[in-house]
């Protein structure tokens, strides 16, 4: 549709609505992307605050700040808020902002569905917060002292908080399935003429796979928690051995969702890296096709190795051998991805702006986390590592660099495009260094704690674990506080700063950089031709 044929009526529709209506009724992918990102930022601080309480409590042996049930509830909330509230919405925010601009589409395929899938989130977050709040009222029952895995029978002992949480998970699940459907339809039907699947930007590819994974596994989690709800209130005994059920069944259902979830968190950030590293190395991504193949392999194999989270439940020798080999095999496609990133940097002309600093940090630290993952995959050794602080260290090394730093890199990379202003590079670098150093001081010592025999999710520990816990807690405070700097940088960039050019970075390639910074409210109303 070109401007010359646009009627007066249509032109009227294209005006950006103002005030709260602009946001509540928004069908614009850019506005909804912004909403997602702001929601994620808010939840990151909420989840971060619970992590700070956890680390403050673990700073010294003994029970100083919170009681054990509250502590366990914070452990539960930290995980759920960070995964469902911060990382997934942030990745969805990037997808909403960037996918239509990258594939030359005017908007998402289903704009009103898009509005729905975002506005379910605040409701879900409210339910989650309520689950935390009700135990403080008379008759509220016990707190959710199970960890985010919600294993029965412990989770059937919990009070009404658990019901709030189950419904929160249902809402979060519906939201992400709807968002995934929208993204898949957009990517399959809305590409600009001439953009073949294998010409799609990598970020779009990663989100296509992520969206399919979400549709495959989120309903399984929904099923699992529904059964939990039935066990709690309607006299069923899916997970109750006394009634002929099996407590381990829940673990299988949970991890059938939970393990692909790791890749759901990881892949969008891999997509961001596939843009950031070539841009700042000033040469094309090394091995585009093998990257797509590796990603499909990770998603496929990742679907069938869930039980490596439950090596200690007493599976048969055959079963654990299968899950061990399968898990170790995942290192092949993941190794290929890392190799492609290093080969992209190799013989490039690199500069180190903040997004690139994060990208390099990811390549190094994610490799480290991946290698400790191979150690964990080995069943006999896992009999030691399982449920120890070593595991906590491992998955934070995978998820912080793998998912969160990737999102940071994406935010810094595209912030000039979104706001039309360059962020303050000095502050950006300062944020990177405080963040990464704080992160390493926090989680590196936890490897030693785990090996020495400290289990995870304990509120109180023997004096032999004091030293490393002190170091870890101090690191955590630095790490936590550094995010205030992120908030400051983002606000400062939105309010003003050096004018960003359309192509904000020298080496940036792709359709999104053909648009103004900031882009018009509606972009690509005339689809570009891809050669």
């Amino acid at each position: 549709m070109s401007t010359t044929t646009m009627t007066h009526d249509e032109a009227h529709h294209h005006d950006a609505p103002t005030g709260w209506r602009r946001w509540l009724f928004s069908t614009n992918h850019k506005d909804i992307g912004t909403l997602y990102l702001l929601f994620a930022l808010t939840m990151m601080f909420l989840g971060g605050a619970s992590a700070m309480v956890i680390r403050a409590e673990l700073f010294m042996p003994g029970i100083q700040l919170v009681d054990p049930d509250l502590y366990n509830n914070l452990v539960t909330n930290h995980a759920l808020i960070m995964i469902f509230g911060a990382v997934m919405p942030a990745a969805a925010g990037l997808a909403n902002w960037m996918i239509p601009m990258m594939i030359g589409a005017p908007d998402m395929a289903l704009p009103r569905l898009n509005n729905l899938s975002f506005w379910i989130l605040p409701a879900a977050a409210t339910m989650l917060v309520l689950s935390f709040v009700v135990p403080f009222f008379p008759g509220g029952g016990t707190q959710i002292n199970t960890g985010w895995t919600l294993y029965p029978p412990l989770s059937t002992q919990v009070g009404m908080s658990m019901d709030f949480l189950i419904f929160a998970i249902h809402l979060l699940g519906i939201s992400s399935v709807l968002a995934s459907i929208n993204i898949i339809v957009t990517l399959l039907n809305m590409r600009a003429p001439g953009m073949k699947m294998l010409k799609m930007p990598m970020f779009c590819w990663t989100w296509l796979v992520t969206a399919f994974l979400l549709i495959l596994v989120v309903p399984v989690l929904a099923g699992g928690v529904t059964m939990l709800l039935f066990d709690r209130h309607f006299g069923t005994s899916f997970f109750d051995a006394a009634g002929g059920g099996d407590p381990v069944l829940f673990q299988h259902l949970f991890w059938f969702f939970g393990h692909p979830e790791v890749y759901i968190l990881l892949l969008p950030s891999i997509g961001v890296l596939s843009h950031v590293i070539p841009a700042f190395s000033r040469k094309p991504l090394f091995g585009y096709n093998s990257m797509v193949g590796a990603m499909l392999a990770v998603a496929t194999i990742g679907m069938v190795v869930w039980a490596h989270h439950q090596y200690t439940v007493g599976m048969s020798l055959g079963a654990v051998t299968y899950f061990m080999i399968g898990t170790i095999i995942i290192s092949i496609p993941v190794g290929l991805m890392i190799f492609n990133f290093i080969a992209t940097m190799w013989r490039g002309a690199m500069t180190f702006e903040t997004p690139m600093l994060f990208a390099v940090g990811i390549v190094l630290m994610f490799t480290f986390g991946g290698l400790s993952g191979v150690m964990l995959a080995v069943v006999p050794a896992d009999m030691q590592y399982h449920d120890s602080m070593f595991v906590v260290a491992h998955f934070h090394y995978v998820l912080m660099p793998g998912a969160v730093f990737g999102l940071f890199a994406g935010v810094f990379y595209w912030l000039p495009k979104w706001t039309g202003h360059m962020y303050d590079e000095r502050l950006g670098k300062l944020f990177f260094w405080t963040n990464v150093i704080g992160f390493n001081i926090t989680f590196f010592p936890q490897h030693f704690l785990g090996l020495a025999g400290m289990p995870r999710r304990i509120i109180d520990y023997n004096v032999m674990f004091t030293e490393f816990n002190v170091v870890s807690s101090i690191g955590a405070m630095v790490f936590g506080l550094s995010h205030l700097l992120l908030l400051y940088i983002v606000i400062k960039t939105i309010r003003g700063g050096k004018k960003a050019e359309s192509r904000s970075w020298e080496g940036a390639k792709g359709l999104e950089w053909e648009l103004d910074s900031p882009p018009a409210f509606h972009t690509w109303t005339v689809a570009p031709q891809i050669k």
Binding site: G159, G287, S290, G348, M350, T367, F368, A381, I459, M464
Partner: protein, 396 residues
């Protein structure tokens, strides 16, 4: 960072000079970081006494596990060094500020065309090395040897204590944490009754749980297994040195998950035989005392009841009787405890479904009588009731 900032100051030297300054500054930064890292590593090695690795294994199975842990860790470290070396080489030499021109055809060279084949092959080689060794160890660790004279110990997790049943001798050990005032530096690593095991004997643990999931973990023994209500899982060990090995519950099990230490005392077979004898004598004496048709005085029951209550009930309902509401109701002034005796006995013997209150029916009549008498009279409850073992027998 400071060095870096001074670079940004405008000064009137020539561009060549500036870039040389820049390079020197950068070298200074790099060497600064290198020193910092060396410092950190030395500092952490100096902490070695606090444990950087698993403790010394106490048996053959544990040794195998320790060896495969070391092998994978060495392979991982080796790969990490390679990756870091390539990345840092690239970061240093392939920089725009050094005037390096990006090679726009690197990804279309033969290397770019074929890397997707040989990289996976290399990784597969590493994987097979690890998987092959792991598979061999796994077979030894996983399958319990089928031997007639293997010693069976049933390990039952409770909220929040461990029960060890020596199935061959019928001895039962209840193992609970010791409060800080009495255990001092061993707080959360010491228990009242240890799990005593003989060296040089193959031992099979049968894990199960009375309530929620728990997990048995002693790093020196290396085998960890979940305790699942209604199911029995098994592991086996064979200890080859004497000593005291400490571990704790590894699967979150509610409020006092942190208060479930496990202490294994590994002794010679002779001392183990002596210990078994002692335990059996104690057991016989206790049974005799409980079954004697004796009417007990209130003071005796109260004294016995206090000891039993403090160890068995105190973790939840608290020694003060005030509980930890809402999960663990107070017993002081509670209508359950001051009300009809039959209901009180029923909840103690059979537990209450859907809550953390478990069935205590495995205690003998005298023990239950003492606990109930104590609860009905302590903390100003003063009902004046004296419950006799015979009453408990009737209530069962």
């Amino acid at each position: 960072m400071i060095n870096h900032h001074t670079n940004n100051q405008k000064h009137s030297t020539s561009p060549a000079r500036r870039s040389k300054d820049k390079r020197q500054n950068r070298l200074r930064i790099i060497s600064g970081y290198a020193l910092l890292m060396i410092g950190l590593i030395t500092a952490s090695v100096a902490q070695a006494e606090y444990g950087l690795n698993f403790p010394e294994p106490a048996g053959a199975v544990a040794q195998e596990i320790y060896d495969i842990h070391m092998l994978t860790m060495q392979i991982a470290t080796f790969l990490l060094i390679i990756v870091f070396a390539f990345v840092f080489y690239s970061l240093y030499f392939h920089r725009k500020s050094r005037g390096y021109q990006a090679d726009q055809h690197f990804h279309t060279s033969w290397f770019g065309q074929w890397s997707w084949v040989f990289v996976p092959v290399l990784v597969l080689g590493v994987d097979l090395t690890i998987a092959g060794k792991a598979d061999a160890v796994l077979k030894k660790v996983w399958e319990v040897p089928k031997e007639e004279n293997i010693m069976d110990v049933k390990v039952t997790g409770h909220q929040w204590w461990w029960e060890f049943d020596y199935l061959d001798s019928g001895i039962k050990v209840e193992s609970r944490y010791i409060p800080k005032e009495e255990s001092g530096d061993l707080y959360l690593r010491e228990v009242d009754n240890r799990l005593v095991l003989p060296t040089g004997t193959k031992i099979r643990f049968l894990h199960t749980s009375a309530d929620v999931l728990h997990a048995f973990w002693v790093p020196e023994l290396a085998v960890k297994k979940d305790a699942i209500p209604g199911y029995v899982t098994e592991t086996w060990v064979s200890l080859d040195r004497e000593g005291i090995f400490r571990g704790q519950c590894a699967e979150i099990c509610g409020t006092w998950h942190s208060r479930m230490p496990i202490v294994v005392e590994s002794v010679s077979p002779e001392r183990f035989a002596a210990w078994t004898g002692e335990q059996q004598a104690v057991k016989v004496a206790k049974a005799a005392e409980a079954s004697a048709d004796k009417v007990w005085g209130k003071d005796d029951l109260m004294a016995k009841g206090k000891t039993l209550y403090d160890t068995k009930c105190g973790a939840c309902h608290q020694v003060t009787g005030l509980g930890l509401p809402p999960a663990f109701p107070a017993l002081k002034g509670s209508p359950m405890v001051t009300g009809p005796l039959a209901e009180h006995l029923d909840i103690v013997i059979n537990g209450k479904e859907g809550t953390a209150m478990q069935a205590w029916g495995s205690l003998n009549d005298l023990e239950i009588a003492a606990i109930v008498t104590y609860e009905r009279n302590a903390w100003d409850n003063n009902t004046g009731d004296v419950v006799q073992p015979a009453d408990v027998k009737q209530a069962r």
